[in-house]
Assembly symmetry: C2
Homo-oligomer: 335 residues x 2
DNA sequence: TGGTCCGGCAAAACCGTTTTCGAGCTACAC
DNA sequence: GTGTAGCTCGAAAACGGTTTTGCCGGACCA
């Protein structure tokens, strides 16, 4: 398992009978070079299967051609989709993504950023996360940084996100329009921005329609399927009445659906159900789940493009992304 | 958005009034250094918030402290889990993962490897993928390489995988033991190693129990939920009889479950259903899905440990990992 | 014809580390 | 008292590129 003696720029120079500066010029198109020498260099590169050492490049040029990505968590469908989008957006730009997993933990996130900085990333994309604005501001002062899937007041144009408040409001309004007035809500993890916004949207829609908010119909979940089950059981034990349930994400909707079925409560005939995120499997729930689709991939791609443009010193501002209500079969009109 | 003038080892040396070689020695613990100087250096490092430039390190030392990961696809639950495991396994080893997405495409996979090699990764972990053994052999001759989620004959000890044939055999035997004799199978993507092995296991179990294999009961799917729906509809149109369905992954099982419910066929009362992979949501299917759990995370972690050991020149062989039949409620005993 | 520009390229400096080499010192044996 | 071994530590040489500098010769102009 010997590591081949890689060929270096010096080998190419010798082989093509030019100086290594010329080789560098040909490779980077910085200064015109005579046709025949250019050709000789290219031939040598091909012949010796030369691949420039990115470390040397990075050292000399100061640019690493690397973009650091701090993910919220690898293995969560929504965040994976975003990450995937960033990777896709970086494709063929010459930049390579360097991904470090935040694992839902602020301290790990901070360490991730340090690792990335030590590896001289040219820019950063942070997906979600719980770092304080102060921390983020400090990072941004060191490297161009874009944010995805999190709304930050002072970062307009530098973060890609969906208006969670509005989306939750719309979902709730939709349920009300379908004749539902007793609408339960399973919230996301306590303290998480998205969870808070969704709950606020839910509450606002009820208020705007003159429906009294009933705390009995709210369960504080944690985005897991298990907490969806727990929510339904809690509602039933409490004796809370509800004709519809709005879960703050699809996983909890799945859990709720299972719990309902165990009690022989039919979806949507007896209870309507709505989720959030539009995970791939949600279209295959029985019945297919009505939910809110976030343009996760698109947000990732946009963030990647934004940072590449930014590094070329072309300004680029990120738009607000639209959430889309995906109507499937888990909601029925009441009466 | 200025990039701070990062402090270099020279700054530290000057500040601590020692030579930079001493600083390096303190930082890497290579050679003993007098107590007071050591202290001075450490203080300076803290004071100036020094972070060594990984590029310079890589250049000088020849080691990048980076492990390249080629994933099958970001966004597929199973492969994400594996990737996640590799990342976790690398945690606190000093190595950083560099992830490039293969996107289910051989050419992209090959390009990914080249990118990784150009970035001087010290080792490679390849997750799944479709590269030929010849290609892989060539890669392995350049850098230590481990394989996850794919079985390669000549790589014993260097690949972490589950015995798909055996697992599928066991699943089918289990269904037979539950009294089923008309067992349908929805295969995975045509030509994919795992799909082939699972189909073979299915066929072998039937044969061993003296049950005639009926091609009418096999549908060639592609691992997507949609193809699960298609499978059921095809079976019904064909007029094929079946009391159980074994889908080669959970997504297709979800699709099948939905299609069955649309035809008012109950699971498990009328038809039993089994999947493969044990995705997180499968426990929340209605009814919870009986399936095969692969230790995805564990395989990833093991591969990471293996490569780290390998780089320290300590030999390390990967075991064969056990698949585990997860019994839930989607299968019923026949009569 | 002579001076000035300018394009093309080789040579050298530089990027920030690690590593090699050997100088200087102390300790110890003979 | 000298020789030797064993430390610690500074100077300098890598590592493999990019960027700057400066030289050379030819074109252009007066």
């Amino acid at each position: 398992m010997e590591i081949d003696k890689k060929s270096t720029i010096d080998d190419i120079a010798r082989f093509a009978k030019v100086s290594k500066s010329t080789v560098s010029r040909v490779l980077n198109d910085t200064t015109p070079v005579a046709k025949d020498k250019r050709k000789a260099v290219l031939a040598a590169v091909k012949k010796l299967d030369f691949q420039p050492n990115q470390f040397a490049r990075g050292l000399a040029g100061g640019l690493s051609m690397t973009i650091g990505i701090v993910t919220q968590n690898i293995g969560s469908p929504f965040y994976d989709s975003v990450t995937s989008g960033v990777i896709k957006g970086l494709d063929a730009t010459g930049y390579t993504p360097l991904i470090v997993d935040g694992q839902w933990d602020v301290d790990i996130e901070k360490a991730a950023v340090q690792t990335l900085l030590g590896r001289q990333v040219d820019g950063l994309v942070i997906v979600g996360g719980s770092m304080t604005e102060t921390d983020l501001e400090k990072i941004r002062s060191q490297r161009p940084t874009f944010m995805v899937a999190r709304e930050l007041d002072d970062w307009s144009g530098s973060c890609a996100f969906v208006n969670n408040y509005q989306a939750a409001y719309d979902v709730t309004r939709y349920l009300i329009e379908q004749g539902h007035r007793e609408i339960a809500h399973i919230t996301g993890i306590i303290g998480h921005q998205d969870a808070i916004k969704r709950r606020e949207g839910y509450a606002a829609a009820l208020a705007d329609c003159g429906i009294q908010l009933d705390e009995q119909r709210i369960f504080e979940g944690n985005f897991s399927g298990q907490s969806g089950i727990l929510a339904i059981e809690t509602f039933l034990i409490r004796g809370a009445r509800f004709s519809a349930v709005f879960a703050a994400n699809d996983e909890m909707a799945f859990g709720a659906r299972l719990a309902l079925s165990r009690r022989n409560i039919r979806v949507p005939e007896d209870v309507s159900l709505v989720g959030f995120d539009d995970q791939p499997l949600s279209a295959f729930m029985t019945p297919p789940l009505t939910t809110v689709a976030q343009p996760a991939l698109e947000m990732g791609v946009a963030a990647a493009q934004a940072i590449v443009q930014r590094l070329k010193n072309k300004p680029f501002t990120l738009p607000v992304f639209p959430a889309r209500l995906v109507l499937r079969e888990s909601v029925t009109r009441l009466r």
